[in-house]
Symmetry: C2
Subunit: 286 residues, 2 copies
């Protein structure tokens, strides 16, 4: 009997990360005619992930507390700083991601990065190019993940490949109007009224390591929410937290000096030894 291989996304799992674990494990099991690949999560899921899993009747993966000694496939991230605990003593079998590469490992493994808008775009492309069956529910879940990561195709990270896959998945999932469907998910994602400021930022929190220190940043999407509901009341609170929270968590002396709200998501951080430019990690208005 073969040992399980855990397919797992980053800490503070978001919809793309959790769905990639589920969809890639399914793709690997079906295409290799096995059941050794198990989706797992590295932390509790956020609100829109819970919503999408329930909507498409797909089970929430189990949390993997430590990857120590385990065989793992990393999806939707490749930096160890963002990975499940124990990653340095795990046996990494493979990586599939759409982010920049910052990786070092002692032996050759399958390592696939496509600079597309979502990890699920890469995995859906594999389903469509192979003879592996993609059922209606999983197609719907993957569509949800791509729509969130590409901000319903409005994000600057959205590529033609993402648009092509969104169309194909909509047909497969039997969802006639993917724009309207995307808006539904963003309404869930943005219904932050009953959350504390810390819960908002924690919902998509990632660690980053620069030469000058370690820090963390959370991101909130406010697309599809009436301005009065979030921007005017919640945004200042969220930004303030943004400036303090990442620092409190990791490097007390660091402080954000500027957080520009713009279409191109970007933030400037002063980590004590000069200004750093971190991309894709700010509250953005669309």
């Amino acid at each position: 009997m073969s040992e399980n291989v855990f397919v797992i996304g980053h800490k503070s799992p978001d919809l793309d990360s959790v769905t990639a674990a589920i969809s890639y494990a399914r793709f690997k099991n079906l295409s290799e005619n096995t059941d050794i690949y198990k989706p797992a999560i590295a932390g509790e899921i956020n609100r829109e992930t819970a919503y999408a899993l329930e909507r498409f009747n797909i089970e929430k993966p189990d949390i993997l507390l430590s990857a120590d000694g385990r065989e793992v496939i990393l999806v939707d991230h490749n930096e160890f700083a963002q990975a499940v605990d124990g990653i340095r003593s795990a046996r990494i079998k493979e990586v599939l991601d759409h982010h920049k590469v910052d990786f070092k490992y002692g032996e050759p493994i399958r390592f696939e990065i496509e600079p597309w808008g979502s990890s699920n775009t890469i995995i859906a492309d594999k389903f469509f190019k192979s003879n592996v069956e993609l059922n209606k529910d999983l197609a719907g879940l993957m569509l949800s993940a791509i729509l969130v990561d590409t901000v319903i195709t409005k994000s600057p990270t959205c590529t033609d490949k993402d648009k092509e896959i969104i169309e194909k998945l909509s047909v497969q999932a039997g969802i006639a109007d993917w724009k309207e469907f995307g808006m539904d998910i963003f309404k869930v994602r943005s219904s932050v009224n009953e959350l504390s400021a810390e819960e908002i930022i924690r919902s998509d929190f990632k660690d980053f390591i620069l030469k000058t220190g370690k820090f963390g940043i959370g991101q909130v999407e406010t697309h599809a929410v009436p301005r009065g509901q979030f921007f005017e009341r919640q945004q200042p609170q969220a930004v303030a937290l943004f400036e303090n929270f990442g620092m409190r968590r990791n490097r007390p002396q660091a402080h954000a000096v500027e957080a520009r709200i713009a279409h191109a998501p970007q933030v400037f951080l002063d980590c004590g030894q000069g200004l750093h430019h971190a991309r894709g990690v700010v509250i953005r208005e669309s």
Copy 2:
């Protein structure tokens, strides 16, 4: 008019590296219906590369002296220590390789590693899976590269995928007996009688960076050569050079304490701060 994108392998180019630059540039040009992809080399080619290029009437790529400011695709390597000069100020568009990952770059790019025996196995697989035409000469050149890198399928790095692709390329190239063809190339590769010991080691020299320092190692394949012709006369000379040359070039105080000649290629090096184990970089007997 678009700018050229140089497809380039590592320094001290070997047959797999040079052929990967040629074959991947051709694949990209044909599949994207363009001519912007230009194969290039990062140094002078070795003996069996010259032999294979001549045999299949394929032109030797131009040497790219510096990648500074250029758009490049890296093939058959991903570590900057092994790359063309000026790589840190190049615009890297893509990486295709079969070695372990040791890479960091500031933005998401296409990055593809398959842990197969040769870079050309990955590229040939792309030709066979697409509708892009692979002509007889290029198929022969790619077959040569895979046979060298897998030591005619006898290397521990040779996978089932390499064997599958070797069979397919043989048909495409019209080469009936690929084992015999592989032996022909190894005879050229191993005809070292008229070379100096330094030329032998230089012919496949790669730089490696460890925490304790930088060093370089050359590798010589002695497959298909009568023992009396190389092992008894040349090998001691080559090994001695192996112990001195890499050190002289990079880190004078480093010295090899043990170089085991074995089926599993391995070497132990003392770089001044303890013993390091470097894989795949020793003269091997097959």
